[in-house]
Symmetry: C2
Subunit: 117 residues, 2 copies
């Protein structure tokens, strides 16, 4: 099935709560994930919430990685959206699950822009 | 069903191709969508690709709006991710479909962080 984009939606439960509340560490993790996946970073934006939680995105030339964390629940929602065949989204997903220390991760894969001709 | 986040995935086909390639206009549209939805903008990042296409995100206090455009196909992928009950994600979705002039829009709604207790 022809698609412009591949979109991985990660539901990361039972993560390390301290990691989920550390903006600098999460930024480093997202940049590492992009690098390991072979992506080219072109923009980023991170925000720390009070009393807790982090939202962050990096825009990559081949699309984006997005993360929202709820340290109080040990939960992170992560999206990895890629287009083309050069970026290894699965590698980025593996790294994020490992670095956030999720003991109960699930991944949904969606195809975006299907049947565009 | 209890969920931390509501995630709308918009597949906007048959859009106005000139709009899809205009970074400044798309930025204004995303900010308007956030404002109309009652969201609080806390960060943003936009990037224009060569020869065409735009990626942009705004991080809102209640989560994010993300957009990728492929002017050559008249297609835009838009994500609206919200948490809490104060942001009207549907209002943002309607505004985006209208401003990008999509003649063939579809929306998928996902719940994120389900059954976190």
């Amino acid at each position: 099935m022809n698609a412009l984009g591949k979109h991985l939606l990660l539901e990361l439960k039972d993560c390390n709560k301290e990691v989920l509340n550390d903006l600098n560490l999460l930024r480093e993790v997202l940049l590492s994930a992009a690098e390991e996946a072979g992506a080219t970073v072109v923009g980023e934006s991170f925000h720390k919430f009070a009393p807790q939680g982090v939202s962050g995105t990096i825009i990559i030339a081949e699309s984006h990685i997005f993360l929202h964390t709820w340290p109080e629940y040990g939960y992170a929602a992560v999206d990895i959206f890629t287009c083309g065949d050069t970026v290894k989204a699965d590698v980025a997903a593996e790294l994020l699950m490992e670095r956030l220390e999720s003991k109960d991760p699930t991944i949904i894969e969606m195809k975006r822009g299907v049947s565009i001709s």
